[in-house]
């Protein structure tokens, strides 16, 4: 029994494409044309686009989990309704993105199984815990804010189905962001305990949000061909700086303090205790805010599966997949199952 249809979907930079077709393809990209599902495309473009769309789809449905667990405890009718609608949107985004990915050559169920078995990844940021209601507010404001920043750049990409999906997702994300902003503002205008919880939640999410955009450009191996083909349109560092320029002043305005891990004189991290980030200063000359880089060792630990909640998130997806298997067997005639958990 095959557990993955993705075995032959690999990047292969040795592959020789027909030079004329490749030149014509790249000319279309340079002219700003959109590539459609049935157009000719280099195999590595197809694989790169599929990986990105699949990772994005996975992130939407795993991203539903940290907020989803707060639906039962939402403290007002308005927030409860808004949170269900928000998480429902994330699942809807996942569904749209799996459809985009399916057209690129991988069946939906293979993608869901690969997610459950850890063969494919989802966004790192969802491996962090959301222990208080203020974390829900912070995810909707800060994490969704980071996602919008990233997705706006992806909406300028070259693959038509993904670009159109991104435009629609961005419209919905703008609502989530507004709702998150309203929640953070309400909490920061509230009781001392609400303000304390909100600062603590901000402390938990600021650094994961800096990591959200991926490793520094100098360490990133796959940026360049994907930039040429406009699968990506901006580098990780450019997006990260945009995020800081947008959110550092907004956080300060709300009365939040931006912190970072304690470092020694050489810049090495000496403790997980947080101290005010003294580099958060607006530089008139460049027009940018400074900031201290997040802990990239932590980033590497989390992407390798050793973050705070990697096992729980994948475990819950797996639980859900297994609980619902009988329904898919009944109505989709699906016969594949998951291999035993480790």
């Amino acid at each position: 029994m095959s557990v993955s249809a993705g075995d032959n979907i690999k990047l292969d930079w040795e592959r020789q494409e027909d030079p004329q077709r490749l030149a014509a393809f790249e000319a279309r990209i340079d002219a700003g044309e959109l590539v459609e599902a049935d157009d000719w495309m280099p195999q590595n473009y197809r694989v790169g686009m599929l990986r990105m769309a699949e990772h994005h789809a996975n992130s939407e449905i795993v991203g539903a989990l940290p907020e989803g667990e707060w639906i039962t405890r939402a403290p007002s009718l308005k927030r409860k309704l808004a949170l269900i609608a928000k998480v429902q949107d994330e699942v809807g985004h996942g569904q749209m993105l799996y459809r985009v990915s399916q057209d690129l050559g991988k069946p939906r169920d293979a993608m869901l199984r690969d997610l459950c078995t850890g063969r494919t990844k989802y966004h790192n940021v969802f491996n962090y815990p959301a222990p208080t209601w203020a974390d829900v507010a912070m995810i909707q404001w800060l994490v969704d804010g980071a996602a919008i920043m990233n997705q706006k750049s992806l909406a300028d990409g070259s693959y038509g189905p993904y670009v159109r999906t991104m435009r629609r997702i961005n419209m919905e994300e703008a609502f989530h962001f507004k709702s998150g902003e309203d929640m953070v503002l309400t909490l920061m205008s509230g009781t001392p305990r609400q303000r304390r919880d909100t600062q603590a939640a901000f402390d938990r999410w600021w650094m994961p949000c800096l990591m959200f955009f991926g490793p520094p450009d100098k360490d990133s191996t796959k940026t360049s061909p994907f930039m040429t083909w406009r699968i990506k349109t901006l580098t990780n560092d450019t997006l990260r700086q945009r995020f800081v320029d947008r959110f550092a002043p907004a956080a300060i305005d709300l009365g939040l303090e931006i912190k970072t891990k304690q470092r020694d004189a050489s810049g090495a991290i000496v403790s997980d205790d947080l101290v005010p980030d003294e580099l958060i200063v607006h530089d008139e000359a460049s027009g940018h805010y400074g900031f201290t880089q997040p802990d990239w060792d932590e980033f590497n630990r989390v992407i390798r599966g050793n973050g705070p909640l990697n096992r729980e998130r994948v475990g819950l997806r797996r639980f859900s997949y297994e609980q619902g298997a009988w329904v898919r067997r009944a109505v989709l005639g699906q016969t594949c199952g998951l291999p035993l958990a480790n």
């Binding site: 449905i61 539903a64 989990l65 989803g68 639906i71 039962t72 405890r73 939402a74 403290p75 007002s76 009718l77 308005k78 927030r79 409860k80 309704l81 269900i84 609608a85 998480v87 429902q88 994330e90 699942v91 809807g92 996942g94 569904q95 799996y98 209601w133 929640m183 309400t186 909490l187 205008s189 509230g190 009781t191 305990r193 609400q194 819950l316 639980f319 859900s320 609980q323 619902g324 298997a325 009988w326 329904v327 898919r328 067997r329 009944a330 109505v331 989709l332």
Partner: protein
């Protein structure tokens, strides 16, 4: 509340609380599937059902808050367990068995459709208008549940068994839906809530057994019961625990804005 209804205030409040509490709790339970349903499309559908139910509850709480100088969020999150008027079925945990969730929805939606139709014929126009609007949305939920019951029962032996065992769990709790809220007879007599529980129970049995028979499922439905339960504030032992979770953040600072 309009002055001429003053004498019916207590009975109307009991009736509307029973509807609002049913919908709040059923929506709360259905939202457990948000992010975790068997198929992405059904994840989205169950979330929509949950939103409809909670929004309906909210509209009724708003009306009650307005009549009784109260607050909708306090009504939803700030009462003691014995002040809630929901039936036991809406708070039944499905233990992440989607067949139980579906059959629970099926029984409750058919019941709600009838209850809302009665309310939509109320002599109190604003209430009738609100109920008519809710009934239109409820019809979507009824259609969704009916289709899935038939579809699953006709698919695989495994799915059929799941639905049958869900029916064995859910059906014995359905008489609790028909327990009458205190004072309902006076509302029936004056036209505020036309019709009767017996009539509604007969219609419900007919509709539910039609679908079950169409699906080839056993369709023996329990009779009405005279037992006092949720409509009198008597709830299953698990109910306070459900409320503790639902109200955890609200209770942490009841005066705060969220």
């Amino acid at each position: 509340m309009p002055d001429e209804l003053g004498q019916h205030r207590a009975a109307l409040t009991e009736l509307l609380l029973s509807i609002a509490d049913d919908k709040l709790m059923l929506g709360h339970r259905n939202a457990d599937w948000t992010g975790l349903a068997p198929i992405l499309e059904e994840d989205i559908a169950f979330s929509a059902l949950a939103q409809d139910d909670i929004a309906h509850a909210g509209a009724l709480f708003d009306l009650l808050a307005d009549w009784n100088d109260d607050d909708a969020n306090r009504l939803a999150f700030g009462r003691q367990p014995d002040e809630y008027r929901c039936a036991a079925l809406v708070t039944l945990s499905d233990e992440f068995d989607w067949a139980v969730a579906l059959v629970r929805q099926f029984c409750c939606d058919h019941f709600d459709q009838l209850r809302l139709a009665r309310l939509a014929a109320s002599s109190l126009q604003p209430l009738a208008d609100l109920a008519a609007r809710m009934a239109r949305e409820e019809a979507l939920g009824v259609g969704h549940a009916d289709q899935w019951i038939v579809r699953l029962s006709g698919a695989t032996a495994e799915a059929r068994q799941r639905v049958e065992s869900a029916l064995r769990i859910v059906l014995p709790l359905t008489p609790g839906l028909f327990e009458e809220p205190a004072g309902v007879a006076e509302l029936e007599a004056c036209g505020l809530y036309p019709g009767s529980t017996d009539q509604m129970h007969g219609q419900w049995c007919e509709m539910v057994s039609n679908v079950l028979e169409h699906a080839g499922l056993p369709a023996t439905l329990p009779p009405r019961s005279g037992e006092a339960g949720g409509r009198r504030g008597r709830h299953p032992a698990e109910f306070p625990g459900l409320l503790d979770e639902m109200c955890e953040v609200y209770r942490s600072e009841p005066q705060a804005q969220w």
